[in-house]
Amino acid sequence: MSAHGASAGHLARFAMSPARRRRDRLARGGMLAATLLALVPLGLIVYYLLSKGLSSWSPDFFTTDPTGNTFFKNESIGGIKSAIIGTIEIVALASAISIPIGIAVAVWLVEYGKDSWFASSVRFFVDVLTGVPSIIFGLFIYIALIVGTGTTYAGYKGSLALSLLMLPVVIRSAEVVLLLVPDSLRESALALGAPRWRVIGRIVLPTALPGMLTGVLLAIARAAGETAPLLFTAGETLKTNTNLSQFTNALPLQIYYDVTSPTTSVVERAWGAALTLVVMILLLNVTARLIARRSRLS
């Protein structure tokens, strides 16, 4: 089917018509162009984050709280310390809630529930949770913990909203990995007389650990970037606090409030905070992928 085919008479009937060849080239070029087009936004976002974000980075940027000043030009607007610490606190608590529960449910699905109707309905509801818009999780927690108790915003309520968001990701990703643990391992341990709980604790979970870690890190990365569930749960504050029962700041919240500001320097702080947030999330993503690559299951 090469170009020579057309000139060598006996091969001519195998040659491709110019029109088909052109269409093929055109289509392949189109696919390539679309792929490059898809990468353009990524390049632009990275470029703008670096060029605008890096210029607002400074030691002070990370070590001072935002001052709330947006009007007076010669006064400092402060940095993003409270937002960084708040994000770490809120996400850590959300992980501490959702990871054990998520893995436990995944273990139940794989080891006990299997294909029973009950397990299928749990899977269905978990999938439903995956599709729920993140702001709805904020509303859920608002109704249950703020309307329900007559109290106000608090950091831990933000954590709970995020943990609802993480739960389906943790459950489904852990389930995939647990399914990959060979049955022969379970059977050998059972045949040696180990009770079920020890098989799960000593054989299944350690084998699946690296793979589950990948899913867990990706869930944390997603939760760290969420703004909507925190809007009406964690509250708006400038101060750093280590007490999650009070209003707590977070990076996405800080960025969101700064974006809506009319003051240029505040918007610049938003770029710096955005770069910080993206770097944190990328680190989690990269770690997750490195662990996934080294995992024996997958």
Partner: protein
């Protein structure tokens, strides 16, 4: 066959003592209870949301609220139609722009690009999913929207005879820019699912097409795309679900005009955006109306996602692929979770 018994008991020595069985039972019933608790929690949240939305639904009627064309906080009149339409326009635009690009990317990555590039390319597209929504909003409002405004104005002027698109002044936040950024945001998930489905196309089919003299593109058109149609449609629907529920980026990019926009390049509002913007200050009936808007949004995403999942599952189950049934059913969907998109 009589197994030896321990002295003084009826229990075989091969059986575990009753005490040793306790942890097993505890684990089993504990885990089952936990799973049941999650189901109960979801149902509880849903019922509470309905309860909080009730005053608004009682005042305006369920249909009156959902399709009422007036959202006026001061007059305490709440109809969600402008918001619903805003949500549908922006997410429809996202599909229109995002899906062709995502599918083309998937085709390029699975069928056309050199094997060495496949991994890095996939990774780069998936990185788009790692960018937080608020960062898309920030980038969209301060970079993309101002840069595209002249182009949008040009289109609006040239197409002034087309209702809804042409005429009018282009504002910085508008339906189009929100839809465009949503398209970028749903690209990774649609692409990941399409790619996952495309890798399940049997090489027999592809080789048969090539063997009959098809060009690469013809092979893709006659062997790959028809085989993947269901998966791609399902992936697009999942993307639609994402786009409908996307809050912060849209809130920043769509503006805050609670009436039906006059044209594509004017300000609007969406269900999620109205909640994010107004909930903080809302009281009484207004707050109930926002809960009702949340409920409409919740039900909308639920329906879209349910349809999407049925399509994806059916698409991957209908094939006699070499994968076991269980992986075939979950395959593309689990890939979505596993890739973190």
């Amino acid at each position: 066959m009589q197994a030896a018994s321990i002295p003084g008991g009826e229990r075989s020595i091969l059986e575990r003592s009753p005490l040793a069985r306790v942890p097993d039972r505890v684990l089993r019933y504990g885990l089952t209870a936990l799973a049941a608790l999650i189901l109960a929690l979801i149902v509880y949240f849903f019922l509470r949301l309905v309860g909080e939305a009730k005053p608004a639904f009682e005042k305006f009627g369920v249909l009156g609220f959902t399709f009422g064309n007036d959202w006026n906080v001061n007059a305490e009149v709440f109809g969600a139609l402008p918001l619903l339409i805003g949500t549908l326009i922006t997410s429809g635009l996202a599909l229109l722009i995002g899906v062709p690009v995502a599918v083309a990317t998937a085709i390029y990555a699975t069928e056309l690009c050199p094997a060495r590039l496949r991994g890095p390319l996939t990774l780069l597209v998936e990185l788009l999913a790692a960018v937080p929504s608020v960062v898309y909003g920030l980038w969209g409002i301060f970079f993309l929207a101002p840069k595209l405004q002249p182009a949008e104005q040009w289109v609006a002027d040239r197409l002034s005879f087309v209702p809804f698109i042409g005429g009018g002044t282009v504002t910085i936040p508008n339906y189009f820019i929100a839809g465009l950024v949503l398209a970028i945001m749903i690209l990774p998930i649609v692409s990941a699912i399409s790619r996952e489905v495309m890798t399940t196309v049997p090489s027999d089919h592809k080789e048969a097409a090539l063997g009959l003299g098809a060009t690469r593109w013809e092979m893709i058109r006659i062997a790959v795309l028809p085989y993947c149609r269901g998966g791609i449609i399902g992936g697009a629907m999942l993307g639609l679900g994402r786009a409908i529920g996307e809050t912060i980026a849209v809130t920043i990019l769509i503006g805050d005009a609670p009436q039906l926009g006059h044209h594509l390049f004017g300000q609007g509002y969406s269900l999620a955006a109205v909640i994010a913007n107004e909930f903080g200050e809302a009281q009484g009936l207004h707050r109930s109306a926002l809960f009702a808007a949340g409920l409409v949004l919740f039900v909308l995403t639920l329906v879209v996602n349910a349809i999407a999942r049925v399509i994806v599952i059916r698409a991957s189950r209908g094939r006699g692929s070499s994968l076991s049934d269980n992986t075939a059913v979950g395959g593309p969907l689990l890939a979505e979770t596993a890739a973190g998109v």
